[in-house]
């Protein structure tokens, strides 16, 4: 229990772990959906604190990770054009596309700017009326209200030189996709707390019911994650399957109504490709027709770019909870945060990057060395 010392309330953490152990009668596989949760689980060693047989697998909820290579290449193609000021959240600049990353393109002279808020693009547009300002709108439901507000304000203010390159993903369809996979191992979910701060959790109820799977909307602090796991195990052991809310101090069933309303007025649901996974029906947003004048894909006529991921990368299986980073032969050797081969290594919230950041690639090297020593000893 060495990790318990780091908890602000180690006694409470221990009592939750004890309670999970007390009620558990068989093994269960539980997926945390959000990348922030994955990061916190690995940092605090929560997966190693849980009783044997409670396995946490890491879901697809890192928006930077699942932004498809094609869209990074489109961003690159637009940002390279003269008279464009390309704006993005900082996390996207170092994600490699087929032709390198945006950071390198910036160092070669392209006008690429990191913004704090999408609304910064309106200020940049007012000062640069002769330039076209393009914003790379990536993210899940948590980020959608901010990105929607940029499109809304650009249209209201008649900012004709502002457009957005939309690459938005939605969490519930990705969970359905995982549950429909013939290889699925996931029996319960820790749902994404900050996504549901916006969306509420009504849309998770039919998923629970249809697939007979408990979904507990959970925060990302250590005690939240332990408590969410306990609530999920309770349901699994009782044979119930409902959407529950562990994070009730932050969110309720309805979410943030004004934010949701604006998102729905600007975006409509569309099919979306997920890096490492492929196309998932109705799993993303695109701009509504009324906002077409601010749609960068229409303005810049970027053609579809065919891209290929390295064959060795198993990020697709990791994102679906079928495999773990350690199962990959390239993890920690060919593939590191500085030389990422695929989705789960490109951002700190990806499962592979989180494992690497907290030294778990060293476990793999140690295990390999020990197995070599054993083979050597036996010979």
């Amino acid at each position: 229990m060495k990790y318990l010392d780091e908890y602000r309330n180690p006694r409470l953490a221990q009592s939750i772990v004890n309670e999970i152990r007390r009620i558990q009668t068989r093994p269960w596989v539980i997926m945390e959906v959000c990348g922030g949760q994955t990061h916190s689980i690995v940092k605090h060693g929560i997966d190693r604190l849980l009783p044997e047989g409670i396995e946490l697998v890491h879901g697809p909820g890192c928006p930077v990770c699942v932004t498809p290579l094609e869209n990074i290449d489109k961003a690159h193609a637009i940002a390279a054009q003269p008279n464009v000021i390309f704006c993005s959240f900082g996390d996207m600049l170092r994600v490699p596309g087929s032709n390198g990353d945006l950071f390198t393109l910036k160092s070669q002279g392209a006008d690429i700017r990191v913004v704090y808020s999408p609304l910064d693009c309106l200020k940049i547009a007012r000062v640069n009326p002769d330039k076209h300002i393009v914003f790379f709108a990536i993210g899940f439901e948590t980020t959608a209200p901010a990105n929607a507000m940029l499109a809304f304000r650009a249209k209201e203010e008649g900012a004709h030189n502002v457009s957005i390159l939309v690459s938005h993903s939605l969490v519930p369809p990705s969970m359905t996709y995982i549950l429909q996979s013939p290889q699925n191992r996931v029996q319960g979910f820790l749902g994404p707390g900050h996504v549901c701060t916006i969306m509420g959790y009504r849309e998770y109820e039919p998923i629970s019911e249809r697939y007979n799977v408990p979904i507990v909307i959970t925060g990302f602090e250590p005690l939240d994650l332990l408590q969410g796991t306990l609530m999920t195990v309770r349901q699994l052991e009782a044979g119930t399957a409902t959407a529950e809310n562990q994070y009730s101090r932050i969110l309720d069933r309805e979410g943030n109504v004004p934010a949701r309303e604006l998102v729905n007025s600007v975006f409509e649901v569309s099919d979306r490709k997920w890096r490492g996974v492929g196309w998932i029906p109705k799993s993303g947003y695109k701009l509504r027709w009324e906002y077409r004048e601010h749609d960068a894909e229409r303005i810049f006529h970027v053609k579809e770019i065919d891209t290929k991921e390295p064959a060795i990368c198993i990020s697709g299986q990791i994102l679906k909870g079928i495999k773990k980073p350690h199962d990959c032969p390239a993890f920690g050797s060919q593939c590191t945060p500085l030389t990422p081969l695929g989705a789960t290594m490109v951002s700190a919230e990806g499962a592979c990057a989180a494992y690497y950041a907290y030294g778990r690639h060293l476990d793999k090297h140690r295990a390999e060395a020990s197995s070599r020593a054993q083979v050597g000893g036996a010979a």
Binding site: G36, L119, D120, I124, T142
Partner: protein, 92 residues
């Protein structure tokens, strides 16, 4: 980048029909839109994601969450440059 950061509303004002606040995050003060949290007022703590308050929180929750995000190195979005509306002079 998927997590919202808690901060304290120091002041609020109107800019072109939008409700904007100055929000203190640890030692940094940045602006955030209050359009999605009409209930938030000066002195309240809000959860801010990419420049937008998305929920209100109590002071204790805000303090604990902020510390955890800091330990997880999840505050980098606050480091993005401040955009001024003053035209920058072109290099000679």
């Amino acid at each position: 980048m998927c997590l919202a950061i808690p901060g304290k509303v120091l002041e609020e004002f109107d800019r072109g029909g939008m409700r904007i606040a100055k929000v203190q995050f640890g030692g940094i003060v940045r602006e955030a839109s209050l359009d999605y949290t009409p209930q938030a007022k000066v002195g309240d703590y809000v959860l801010v994601h990419v420049g937008f308050a998305i929920s209100t929180v109590n002071a204790e929750e805000a303090e604990r969450t902020y510390q955890l995000l800091e330990e997880m190195d999840q505050l980098t979005e606050l480091d993005a440059p401040v955009v001024d509306e003053v035209p920058t002079r072109k290099p000679q």
